[in-house]
Symmetry: D2
Subunit: 145 residues, 4 copies
Amino acid sequence: MSELSLLESLRAINVTAPFNRWLDLEVTAASRGEAEIRMLWRPEAAQYSGFLHAGLIGALIDTACGFAAATLGQRVIASHFQVNCLAPGLGAAFIAKGAVVKAGRRQIFTRADLYAEDHAGALKLIASGETILLPVEDEAGAAAV
Amino acid sequence: MSELSLLESLRAINVTAPFNRWLDLEVTAASRGEAEIRMLWRPEAAQYSGFLHAGLIGALIDTACGFAAATLGQRVIASHFQVNCLAPGLGAAFIAKGAVVKAGRRQIFTRADLYAEDHAGALKLIASGETILLPVEDEAGAAAV
Amino acid sequence: MSELSLLESLRAINVTAPFNRWLDLEVTAASRGEAEIRMLWRPEAAQYSGFLHAGLIGALIDTACGFAAATLGQRVIASHFQVNCLAPGLGAAFIAKGAVVKAGRRQIFTRADLYAEDHAGALKLIASGETILLPVEDEAGAAAV
Amino acid sequence: MSELSLLESLRAINVTAPFNRWLDLEVTAASRGEAEIRMLWRPEAAQYSGFLHAGLIGALIDTACGFAAATLGQRVIASHFQVNCLAPGLGAAFIAKGAVVKAGRRQIFTRADLYAEDHAGALKLIASGETILLPVEDEAGAAAV
C-alpha cells in the first residue's frame, strides 16, 4: 500500500474507536511499520496537577503502537504495554510516534515516543513506551487471548 | 487516619483531577496502603472492537496505584507503569484495586488488579499492572523527575 | 499430577538447563500453578557493590515463573519479563516463589517474588517481577516467536 | 572525558563485579551516554533448549544500560528493568548496546539492544530492554532505594 492509502486506512480505523473520537485523535502520518498520531490539549485531559494524565500518556503510546502494527495489514489487540514518564506533560498538543520493532507470527513488539508540542511547534520528549500486541485471528479469537 | 478519613481524603483528591471527573471515577474503598476505584461502563470508553480501551485500562490501574500510595500521606507522580491485558474488557462497571508493594524513600512500588463487573455484580479479572511512583518534593520538584 | 511428582518433574527439567546447574538452583516446592526455587549465595553472584547482581535477580524470577508455568504441563519460552529491585540483594540464600496469574491459549502470565534468606532463616522481600511466556508448539515452534 | 578514558573507566568498573568476571564480559565501546559490551558464548549459559538463558539476556541488557549511565560519571543501582525476547539466543557471541534515554536528577532511564553474532561476525537482534536506574548517593544511600 502507498503511504497515502496507509494513512487513509488508519484514519478509517481511528474513527471506529469511540475513545479515539472522544480524544479527537488525529492520525498524522503512516508508513510501513510506523504511525504518528496527534491530540490537542484539552482541560479534561489533566491529572490533579494540571499535567497530561498518565492514563492518557498510556493511551497515546498504546494507540500509536497499535496503528504502527496495523500498517502491516494485521488487526491486533494489546496484550502488554509499559510507559516511562520522562517529563511532565505540558503542551498545546501531544504527538506519539510508534514503530514496529519485531513482527513475529505470534506477537508484534512495538515502541513509541510521546512528545509535547508547544505553541511554536517545538517538540519535547515527555514519555516512551512499548507494547506487545497479538494478531487477532478472527472475531472469536479476539476474546481468546 | 481512620479508613473513613482516608476515603474522604482520596475523594477530595479525585475531584481535583479533571480526567477522573470526565471518567466519573468513584473512590469506593481505602485503607492504609490500599485503594479501590470504580467506573461505570460508557460507550465513549471503547476501542474499535467495543471493549474497554487499553488506554483506560492503564488509566484505571495507574489511578488505583496512585491512590494506594496517597493513603500513606504522600503526594506522588507516576514514573513508570505497565499493564497486562488478561481478558477483553467487557462489563457494566470496572473496579481497580491498588496496593503498595514497597514504599521507599525515593520510589514507591505499587500493584493493581482490574476487574470487570457484570450486571449481577460478579467480578472477572481482566488486567493487572504495576506502577513506580515518585514522591513529589514540592511544586518545583514535580517537574524535576 | 501429585505435588510430589510435579516437584520431581521440575527437578528433571532443572538439571537439563546448564545455567541452572551452574547456579546450583534447587527446586524446593511445586504445586499446580506454583513453583519455588532456592539458590545459595556465592561470591561469583555479586555486582560491583557486593549485592546479588540484577541479572541474577532476573534469572531467579524468570526461572521461578517458567517453572510455575511448567506445572501446568506446558513447555514454554520467555517472551517478556520485568523486574522491580525493591531492596539490596544480601543474604545467605535467595528464594523465588512463582505463580501463574493467567494461563491463556496463546500466552501465560506469571508473577514471582524474590526473598533473601538470612543465616537464621528469616526472609526479606528484595524483588518482584512478571513474565509473559509462550507455549512451545514444537521444536520448530520454539524458534518462531 | 575522552572516549578512550570512558572505555578505561568502564573496564575498571567491570573487573570489580564478580559476576561480570565469571561471564567474562568485555567492554567494547563507550561514549558519553552509550556503552557496548560483549560476551562469548559458553555452554554454561544455556537454558534447557540450548539457547542463551533469559536470565543472561537480562544480565547483558542490564549491564549495558548500567554502563551507559556510568559514562555520565554517576554510580547507579538498578531499580527496574524489563526485557523483550525477540528471537532465540543462538550465537558465537552476544553484544549488548546500551544508551541513556533521559538522565534525570532522581532517575536515569536507559535502553539496550542485544545482538547475537555468528561466526562470520553478522549481527542479529535477539532482545531489547529498558532499565530505570537510581543514582547512588553514597555508600549508605545504596541501601536506601
